[in-house]
């Protein structure tokens, strides 16, 4: 945990300063997760603010410190789902993001080594974004949380509210669908 439970208790009691400290401790992690889940950089901050706003109003329901992080992740995942449902423009946004990145790349006339590194990163992002965009939102979020964010099955259990075996099956199927698309892309 990045914060002490006492701090959460204080925030629950209406201490704005304590809540600010919680946000400061987690915002980088949450921003990163959201950015990988929604893939639209300009909206990441807005969704993150929504997550912390929801956290503020749901702190009262928190009983044990152990569930704080999975809970925050659940709020994050839900806010991302809401965002994606609302916008319904994932594919278009991905395309516009790519073109923005391409423009940035073209503009960046830095040293050749840096450029090569950046173009390799860009290629990886491009490939994975393409693969993940070819499966459903559920599959994409599930795989991102497990394989990219590195959450354990136990943590995911508390986020999704389903048991480990069910999660394993869902993850396996999601992975199979991605692999199928990889084969197709060969």
């Amino acid at each position: 945990m990045l914060v002490e439970f006492e701090l959460i208790q204080k925030a629950r009691g209406g201490d704005g300063g304590a809540f600010n400290q919680i946000v400061t401790a987690y915002r980088r992690r949450i921003l990163g997760t959201i950015s990988r889940l929604i893939g639209r950089p300009e909206d990441v901050e807005d969704v993150a603010q929504e997550v912390f706003m929801r956290l503020y109003f749901s702190l009262e329901q928190l009983r044990t410190p152990e569930v704080f992080e999975p809970w925050l992740y659940r709020l994050t995942v839900n806010a991302c789902y809401d965002y994606l449902r609302k916008s319904k423009r994932r594919r278009e946004s991905r395309m516009s993001d790519l073109s923005e990145q391409q423009v940035t790349m073209a503009d960046a006339a830095a040293g050749s080594r840096l450029q090569t590194e950046e173009s390799e990163k860009h290629r990886v992002r491009d490939t994975v974004n393409g693969l993940l965009a070819s499966v459903s939102e559920e599959d994409r979020i599930l795989l991102t949380l497990k394989e990219v964010e590195g959450l354990s099955l136990k943590e995911m259990e508390s986020i999704y509210g389903v048991n480990e075996n069910a999660l394993k099956v869902r993850l396996f199927r999601a992975r199979q669908r991605v692999l199928k698309n990889m084969r197709r892309g060969e």
């Binding site: 950015s35 950089p41 603010q49 706003m53 990886v124 992002r125 994975v128 990889m182």
Partner: protein
């Protein structure tokens, strides 16, 4: 790095699985970590206050609606009670009403009544 050959894989199940693992790992490292802007925290508080004020407005509206509904139900209840009592008063059959109207004329004639009739 193997990642570069993502589309050039021979395609065996294990190879593809390993390739996907490596790709996802590289993806994690390739994704830039976004930094929060200076407006992040004020934005969070603005959203909180916005929601608080809208929920306050909603609760006021809900309270006003409950009061209005209570008043309406009291008025309707009173009206319904009045209607019921007048209906029950008039609920007898036509024959019963007629009988009630002419009971006095059907009474056996008393001496006073005979005297009255004679004077007429």
């Amino acid at each position: 790095m193997r990642i570069g050959n993502v589309t050039g894989s021979t395609g065996s199940g294990e190879e593809l699985n390993a390739e996907l693992d490596a790709l996802l790992l590289a993806y994690r490292q390739a994704c830039p970590e976004p930094e929060a802007s200076a407006d992040f925290m004020p934005g969070v508080w603005a959203k909180i206050e916005n929601r608080e004020s809208s929920s306050f407005l909603f609760s006021r509206l809900a309270r006003a609606l409950v009061t209005a509904a209570l008043a309406a139900s009291v008025i309707l209840g009173t009206m319904a009670a009045n209607t019921t009592s007048s209906v029950s008063r008039e609920s007898g059959s036509y024959l019963e009403a007629l009988a009630a109207e002419h009971t006095s004329s059907l009474d056996p004639l008393s001496l006073e009544r005979i005297a009255e009739l004679e004077q007429q």
